[in-house]
Symmetry: C2
């Protein structure tokens, strides 16, 4: 356990008891953005934030140690309300346990991210909860700690610890995650004027099942191709080399296994590429499809992608976002 506060052990219990009892009734609101996990080329490694949608957690400090889900509003109303299955509550419980927090929380969760959309909704709820709790419970959590607790929450949805949605939702921008339990997160620069088109068909895919369907093995040839691609993609971002990004923004390992989950995926992807996208793939485990492109082409590419879905009889919503979208924040 890492200690992020500096009260000497002898006075710690009294100190905490005092400031936390004073916090009873305090209400804090935090917002965390949706995100594109994997970014095609970096399964369980890369992710970036989105600027058009996010989840909001309003947390009120209460007496006792209960973590209660007061209400869920917005796009999803029927989330689990126990701290084992709900990502926000599970993250709060993890903080409470580790720091032996002697007060509880009453939570309102406003879902701005559709459930099962592949836009990192479960991660955003956990990130917003951690951001709110750190403020409400008066904890000076390091960024590493926030990441760790949000990951613990996210595990309620995905069944594993991976940071490719949690980290971009927390920190914003494009990030690379190394490691699993205590990942190191590196901000990767994004060339100017790059936009992300996100198209969300009216379908649901659940991370856990999309993960369970993956083959346990990768051919050596595909492995080599994909390591070259992610290395070239990262180099291309640092070098602002759009040709390199275009060559490398691909996924020969995961995408072929998941493509069939999303009717029309190949047509939508092809429509994006034919109209100048730098790359297009599943956002997380789908069904949303993202495309990176130069900002000036974003509207046209969005039109082609939505048209391709609609031509297949699939209705969809679509947005355009900066790739360098901001991360989680407190709200008044």
């Amino acid at each position: 356990m890492r200690i992020a506060y500096s009260v000497p052990p002898a006075g710690r219990v009294f100190f905490w008891a005092t400031i936390l009892m004073n916090a009873i009734g305090k209400t804090v609101t935090a917002y965390a953005p949706a995100s594109v996990g994997n970014v095609g080329v970096g399964f369980d490694a890369l992710g970036h934030a989105l600027d058009f949608a996010g989840d909001r957690v309003r947390l009120t400090v209460i007496e006792g140690k209960d973590i209660l889900l007061d209400a869920v509003t917005g796009l999803t109303l029927d989330l689990p309300s126990d701290a084992g299955s709900n990502t926000a509550l599970r993250a709060l419980r993890a903080i409470q346990d580790e720091y032996n927090i002697r007060v509880g929380a009453r939570v309102t969760l406003e879902k701005g991210i559709p459930l099962g959309s592949g836009m990192g909704g479960s991660a955003a709820s956990a990130v917003a909860a951690v951001t709110a709790a750190a403020e409400a419970w008066g904890l000076s959590l390091s960024e590493d700690d926030k990441l760790r607790f949000a990951l613990e929450g996210e595990a309620a949805a995905s069944g594993g610890l991976h940071a490719d949605n949690v980290a971009p939702s927390l920190f914003g921008g494009l990030v690379l995650c190394e490691g699993v339990r205590r990942p190191h997160v590196t901000r990767i620069p994004v060339p100017r004027n790059i936009a992300c088109v996100l198209v969300h068909p009216d379908l649901e895919v659940y991370t856990r099942s999309a993960r369970n369907m993956l083959s346990a093995g990768v051919s050596l040839a595909d492995h080599v191709c994909q390591t070259q691609a992610i290395a070239g993609f990262v180099a291309g971002c640092f070098r602002s080399d759009l040709d390199q990004i275009r060559r490398c923004l691909k996924d020969v390992v995961i995408e072929p296994q998941r493509a069939e989950l999303v009717p029309g995926f190949r047509k939508v992807q092809s429509a994006a590429m034919a109209n100048g996208a730098l790359g297009a793939s599943l956002s997380g485990s789908g069904p949303s499809i993202f495309a990176w492109c130069e900002s000036s082409q974003a509207e046209e590419i969005r039109g082609c992608m939505t048209h391709a879905f609609q031509a297949d009889g699939v209705s969809c919503s679509s947005w355009i976002s900066a790739v360098n979208a901001a991360g989680a924040r407190l709200e008044d």
Copy 2:
């Protein structure tokens, strides 16, 4: 076929015949450095040049279309002398065939790189040959063309096309290769004051057999770990972040399969790491072992690595090189 010269087709045959006949008897010498393939973290993707050893090709233009190996000198004397098996001759034959060159070459090969050492000797011979031939035969080959012909030569030794020795030997420095047949090569910046210690035990490992022993599959978990590592390694190089390079310079896929080929490998690797190396692994398919470290620690790490080999009864040679070593060059 890509045409790198600009003579209009109608005059081409006459043009070439004239300048090539004038070149009879012309002698050109080229040098190409040894290299570290894979650099541990990037199997078939990364490589960097070494500044202490290389191969030298002296090429004399002769009448007729023969490509003849006149002599082999230096560290290896018994190389194959047919254009199918010798990497230098095979590269020359590939150029001759593609450009329909109507003269031949008589070649002296000075091997400064021990055969089967894992220091990219077969690649360096091919690169030196291509560099010499471009000058002697008066071809304005693009860098892409040189790479392609040297790769074709290298295939004589390794049984496949992969550029992780050819590209650094040709271009120098640390390079990332994407693709197989026509790889794109990107120069990756290396933090200042980083040295490479190279320890070569008196053992031989042949690339082709070291390659054939590899499992055809990689577990998904190892694949994810390795993609995170190579992406982090490249980011660490761009960011001059030695901690990130240290975390990421590892190989969970290939090294475990090849380690047993080199008696004492784990002890030598551990000796390097215990003494502050940023990372240590097999150079190419071994048996040489490289370690990256801060320049100020290079002598000490070299001592520990050679001592570890010797303690196991394995004699060895060792060197210290810049990572940003120069690539191939013409010599007077």
